[in-house]
């Protein structure tokens, strides 16, 4: 049985890296007494996979981990046990049971939503909201990306599915698939460059709001959060009463 765990990572724990998060959950699963399934072989390990690594310095309200378990009680019980085994900075938000044969979290990732704010004193010139809107409406948003071998010209525009600017905060729903992953900072950097402004170091406060899978087609995508693939199973209260 495969379950999908949705969690938030915030506060001081934004400074621990992806490998640390993996290690944290391997141990948390044991502390929580989850009946996890192990691989066979001489050095068995828990069958566990994560949706999308989160960079150091970012917070998130929508991280996902898939776990194979041998037995399951109900979603509320698992959420409670996980949270008891957790620390301040990682909170388990939901546990759902995946249908047989679902793609794993990592392969499912198509898009991610991000909220971005500028740190105090590090935002662009006044009126940036209007200029950013204009920028995002351009036909193409070309950036140059340095790879090990050469420099590539990439158009970010097709990967920006949705954006909203509300007050001082920007929301993007952008491509997070393995083939076309966009980091939200790349868009802001391109914007600043176009405006002949320099983005100060460590200027952005970024929160990943959720991670999405595409249940539509490539041409007409329909994004839903990863946990909606599975089903939340509540304890049967009637059983308790009878």
């Amino acid at each position: 049985m495969k379950i999908r765990v949705k969690f938030a990572k915030f506060g001081n724990l934004k400074f621990i890296g992806h490998l640390d998060v993996q290690r944290f959950f391997q141990k948390a699963v044991r502390r929580a007494g989850i009946d996890v399934k192990y691989t066979t072989g001489f050095s068995p390990h828990q069958i566990m996979s994560f949706a999308q690594p989160l960079g150091i310095g970012l917070e998130s309200n929508g991280e996902y981990m898939d776990l194979e378990v041998n037995s399951f009680t109900d979603s509320d019980d698992f959420v409670e046990r996980f949270n008891k085994a957790s620390v301040e900075g990682i909170e388990i938000l939901s546990v759902s049971v995946l249908p047989e044969g679902s793609k794993n979290a990592m392969a499912s990732v198509a898009a991610a939503g991000y909220t971005i704010r500028f740190r105090e004193g590090r935002s662009p010139r006044e009126g940036w909201q209007e200029r950013l809107k204009e920028f995002l409406a351009s036909e193409t948003i070309m950036i140059t990306k340095e790879t090990k071998k050469n420099t590539l010209e990439i158009d970010l525009k097709p990967g920006i599915y949705e954006y909203r600017i509300t007050g001082d905060s920007i929301y993007f729903l952008i491509n997070a698939s393995s083939s076309g992953n966009i980091k939200p900072g790349m868009i802001i950097e391109a914007f600043m460059q176009r405006a002949n402004e320099v983005l100060p170091e460590n200027a952005l406060l970024i929160t990943r709001e959720d991670t999405y899978t595409n249940v539509g087609s490539e041409e007409e995508p329909e994004f839903i959060p990863l946990d909606q693939i599975g089903e939340v199973i509540h304890a049967k209260t009637s059983d308790c009463l009878s």
């Binding site: 001081n12 621990i16 391997q26 141990k27 044991r30 502390r31 068995p44 301040e88």
Partner: protein, 620 residues
Amino acid sequence: MKKLALSDDILMKIEKPARYIGGEVNSVVKNKEDVDMRIAFCFPDVYEIGMSHLGIQILYDMFNRFDGVWCERVYSPWTDLDAIMRKENIPLFALESQDPIKDFDWLAITLQYEMCYTNVLQVLDLSGIPLLAKDRTDGDPIVIGGGPCTYNPEPIADFFDIFYIGEGETRYEELINLYRECRDSGLSRKDFLRKAAKVPGMYVPAFYDVTYKEDGTIECFQPNEEGIPARILKEIEMDVSHTYYPEKPLVPFMKISQDRVVLEIMRGCIRGCRFCQAGQLYRPVRERDVEVLKDYALKMLKNTGQEEISLSSLSSSDYSKLPELINFLIEDCSKNHINISLPSLRIDAFSLDVMSKVQDIKKTSLTFAPEAGSQRLRNVINKGLTEEDIIGGATLAFEGGWTRVKLYFMLGLPTETDEDIEGIAELSNKIAATFFDVVPKEKRVNGRVQIVTSTSFFVPKPFTPFQWAKQCTKEEFLEKAYKTKHAIMAKLNQKSIKYNWHEADTAVLEGVLARGDRKVGNVILNVYKKGAIFDSWSEYFDNQKWMDAFEECNVSMDFYTTRERSTEEIFPWDFIDCGVTKEFLKREWEKAQREEISQNCRKQCQGCGAARFGGGVCFS
């Protein structure tokens, strides 16, 4: 969530910010209003090393059980953060509260190896605490040192207010209560220290004076005030089964050197190897009750979620209930997919059987520590391991499927000759030959065996029979390493043997710091001011800085290392009574020169003096 001491900008700029944020599983956070005693516990090296240390886990847990006491941790900031803190005047802070160390009642520093001494100064400096104890005032934390290096605290005596000599479980509560009393009744720092100096096990350097003879050796070491004890007996916990031990050890977020639950099965060692300091300091051997250990193992695994448990002791094969304990762990842990790690096991049929159950034979290597290449020299150092044992163990291991063997030796041991060095090559070669004899061609994985032979340079340590021995010069060390290399190259199976040797510069320096006196303190201060830190990290160790510092302070290194010491000499550490008598050590030194061995504690008591503690192996 608490506010971090470092800004986001700094944390995003430095390597591994997880070192500095605290908040780990099982870390202890108390309400500041509910405590009246704040202790910052420091391991003066980087987080990954400090967090791997069992002693801190034990004492952290103990301190935090005390009413009104909050103990937190602090480690050496890595060089990247060190530079930023100096530039921006950011005071060093404790991980749990992120409060400055300067505001704590105590700064307790564990001293596990000599090469950390400049890091001690780094921690004091970044905390804003005067480096010299004599310059500190009532507002500064009391700086306490503990751990094995306190058995010769003299080179760093100027930097500490108190050294706690011995095992921490016994006297800290008393010392804390004394401190509270003094502080709350408005007594000065000096008044508290005077009272502390009378608590058993405490050494307060300020109350002792040293005078030297013309030749530089000690003429007299004595208290400078009435009522201060002339000799300090080490503290020892005799009931190791019913004392403090953490049920909920800390679990770091980041990968550290020893990322596992550690179960200390006993303290001390019955063996009496003459080069080994730990073997003398922790006498007598005291075993933990096997039922208590089983209970701890289960609780610690449950509370940490760790996937590995390691048994810790100086010589685990000598634990009397080892088969029972290991069988319990295998039976109970294997179903939970827990790895069992068994360092310091003697290689024999039992241990090989156990290891084949708990480890992947293809991936692990077996370790032998003959320490010396010939039986003659092994008798000198009283290493009770014969060539027969080693070849016998290797034969069993090769039959069992192992193909990798590590061998540890020391170069520069007292009485060593070229034949002993040749013996290292011969033994390595014989083990390789054993493989080809034992394992038929068709069964050889990749067709070969890997022998890794490593040598370290011998550094004589206080409270060992070799405390009188002359240490080799750097040139002698290197010549011995080249000879070893050439001897191995000349062997038939040389292609199966890889040879490594350690740095010679650090071995010489370690020798000075290990057997140094108070005059060496100036050199440490001087070299720190030149910028030396992280001396135990080869990428940061700068030998030239140290050479310059010795010269500027007019201190001779040879005086501490290559000089022959007479058995009449007063050593800087003679005022400490570690339980083992100087007469016993002298007897052992003489026996070593006669190439005579001494039986282990279980076979025959050697009258070392540790029986006076009234327990342990001496009475079983």
